[in-house]
């Protein structure tokens, strides 16, 4: 058992890449390996064409932001931000100029003389960020930098970080366990589970075309339904045809089970049980549970041989959908475009 195993990941120049995974998945271990704080037993870490695996952290030219911010409490805000410049022997006039510029970038103009303990959580976050990019590092690494902030501020900072990234253009590797944060901010997301890469792709691709059940389950909400394979290599659910061929993206071996991933918001509710041209699957089901959650409502609908499908519905003041109750019969359909089929290791 390794903390990281067979991870082959390329981060493109100027990209915002997020390492996403549950706690203990190895994402922070990978980040620390890039920073140089732990050395892999084998393998290679290259910046451009330069092998870095034996280079100590202080020679890697990497800016880091920690979850705890790790600001130096015995220094002022300006001294904190100026620290990497001082180490690079930048003269004091230029240091002052660049610190002022960095403070302006993170919207803290005029707070340079403050002590760290006089700052709010959000301000500390910004100082940590300014300190990490002021020396124009080759890579910016962030380890769950927003997780200590409350929800509102966190969402605001996500947008700000994204803008900042666009402005600076610095290659960024970001670690989080929050899928929404990853979807919001990233150019690409690398999903890690048990020390292995589960999928690396853009947020849209990850959401719309998960390549395995872990990703389908981890990102967004989903109902995973078992499919049966008939003799003509067609995939069926409850005797309805889902796909008339095996998906090309996966090797056609019969050692796997196949599953259908249904996103709750992609299911539509119909007045009658008619199948329209675009529909792939239609179900008639019985509402088991209905919860109103503000901007949306969630219904749990029982279809076929006791499969529970989650259905997310938009709400508005006049909508009759908001008034479903357990026991109601409903018609559901899933359009052809929203069919997601994934292979699953056969359960013994």
């Amino acid at each position: 058992m390794y903390a990281l195993d067979d991870v082959d990941l390329e981060v493109f120049s100027g990209e915002f890449l997020t390492l996403l995974g549950p706690s203990g998945s190895g994402k922070t271990t990978l980040l620390m390996a890039i920073a140089g704080f732990n050395r892999p037993d084998s393998g290679s870490i290259r910046f451009g064409d330069t092998e870095m695996i034996l280079t100590p952290p202080h020679k890697r030219d990497v800016g880091m932001v920690f979850q705890s911010y790790a600001l130096f409490p015995h220094m002022t805000v300006a001294e904190n931000i100026g620290f990497p410049l001082k180490l690079r022997k930048v003269n004091s006039a230029e240091t002052a100029e660049r610190v002022t510029e960095a403070l302006a970038t993170v919207q803290l103009t005029g707070l340079g003389d403050r002590k760290i303990d006089q700052l709010s959580g959000g301000q500390r976050q910004r100082v940590a960020l300014a300190r990490a990019f002021v020396f124009r590092p080759r890579i910016l690494l962030m380890d769950e930098p927003l997780s200590a902030l409350d929800k509102k501020l966190r969402e605001q900072m996500q947008i700000e970080l994204k803008q900042l990234h666009r402005q600076l253009g610095v290659t960024t590797v970001y670690v989080t366990h929050d899928q929404r944060e990853a979807l919001t901010m990233s150019d690409r997301i690398a999903i890690i589970n048990h020390g292995k890469l589960a999928q690396v792709d853009t947020p849209q691709a990850i959401y719309n075309r998960p390549s395995n059940s872990f990703v389908a389950d981890f990102i967004g909400e989903s109902t995973i339904l078992p499919l049966t394979l008939d003799t003509q290599e067609r995939l069926l659910f409850e005797e309805q045809l889902v796909l008339d061929h095996l998906p090309e993206a996966f090797s056609k071996d019969n050692s796997r089970d196949w599953s259908l991933v249904v996103r709750p918001e992609r299911i539509s509710l119909n007045a009658d049980s008619q199948r329209s041209e675009n529909d792939c699957l239609v179900f008639r089901g019985e509402v088991k549970e209905f919860v109103y959650q503000g901007e949306t409502a969630l219904a749990l609908v029982k279809v076929g041989k006791d499969y529970d499908i989650s259905v997310r519905l938009g709400t508005n003041a006049a909508s009759s959908q908001t008034m479903m109750k357990p026991g109601d019969e409903v018609n559901l359909s899933l359009s052809r475009d929203d069919v997601i089929v994934i292979p699953q290791e056969k359960t013994p």
């Binding site: 202080h58 020679k59 705890s68 409490p73 620290f83 990497p84 180490l87 300190r131």
Partner: protein, 271 residues
């Protein structure tokens, strides 16, 4: 006595309800402190013998102490050994505590326990062992011998003080400093050390006191021109009862109290 009915804490306990506790605390404090303080009036006695309370007052025993070359030499030895012990034990203990704290190696805990054994083993055993070991290498009755033995006693104290300081310190600060371009040594001295400096000072004072107050090992391995003041006091008490001892004790109590107060003050600054 209205204060007796006022709450003593956030709970419903009043000062009246805690009266018994205050009494116990007072008795304990008296029992602990009085035997130490009793030497103070005795040291100002005019009598040839230790006597309490003194019938006549004088400073003659302080003169006796300050004018005796034997006592002065012993005092100087103690101070010299104390300072040297402090200068060796503080960096040594700090380095050991830091290394064991950051390594995370599974041997770190056993090694830590091994290094603090001088605090656990009865001092008399260390004294006897040291005496025989020094006999072979010729370190008995020498300053280096004393300093080495006292360093072994003081280092565990330093380690414990520094480790507890590091527990409340965010080691990520050092990581950040290194990622920003500081080599590990620079990161320690510029980022970590300034933030644990009060604990380091506390540890230094404690190691000085450990050596300065130490008597058991000194009895065994110090002597002649390199006898410590505590060793001389012990011999003096055995051979003849003389109020000079009381005068010296008073001075020692004063020095120790002063140093401990400074330590406390430094400790409160760090909070």
């Amino acid at each position: 006595m209205s204060w007796l009915n006022r709450p003593a804490s956030d709970t419903q306990v009043t000062h009246g309800g805690r009266l018994w506790l205050y009494l116990v605390a007072a008795i304990v404090m008296i029992l602990l402190v009085v035997p130490t303080l009793i030497v103070i009036p005795m040291s100002f006695s005019d009598s040839q013998y230790l006597e309490f309370p003194p019938s006549n007052w004088s400073l003659r025993w302080y003169h006796e102490y300050l004018e005796s070359s034997k006592w002065m030499r012993a005092t100087l030895t103690s101070i010299k050994v104390g300072i040297l012990t402090m200068c060796i034990a503080t960096p040594l203990g700090t380095m050991a505590a830091y290394a064991l704290f950051v390594s995370g190696h599974r041997a770190a805990r056993p090694v830590f326990l091994l290094l603090i054994t001088p605090m656990i083993v009865p001092v008399i055993l260390i004294a006897i062992g040291t005496f025989y070991a020094y006999g072979r290498v010729g370190l008995n009755n020498t300053i280096p011998g004393l300093v080495l033995a006292h360093t072994a006693l003081a280092t565990p104290l330093v380690m414990i003080v520094i480790t507890s300081a590091l527990r409340t310190y965010d080691l990520n600060q050092e990581r950040v400093a290194r990622s920003l371009g500081a080599n590990p040594v620079y990161a320690f001295f510029v980022i970590t050390l300034p933030q644990i400096k009060f604990s380091v000072m506390t540890a230094a004072l404690l190691s000085f006191l450990t050596s300065f107050d130490e008597v058991i090992i000194a009895i065994f391995i110090s002597g002649g021109v390199n006898a410590t003041i505590t060793k001389h006091m012990f011999s003096a008490l055995r051979d003849f009862i003389d109020p000079t001892i009381a005068a010296i004790s008073t001075i020692l109590v004063l020095i120790s109290t002063l140093l401990l107060l400074v330590t406390q003050y430094i400790g409160s600054r760090e909070k």
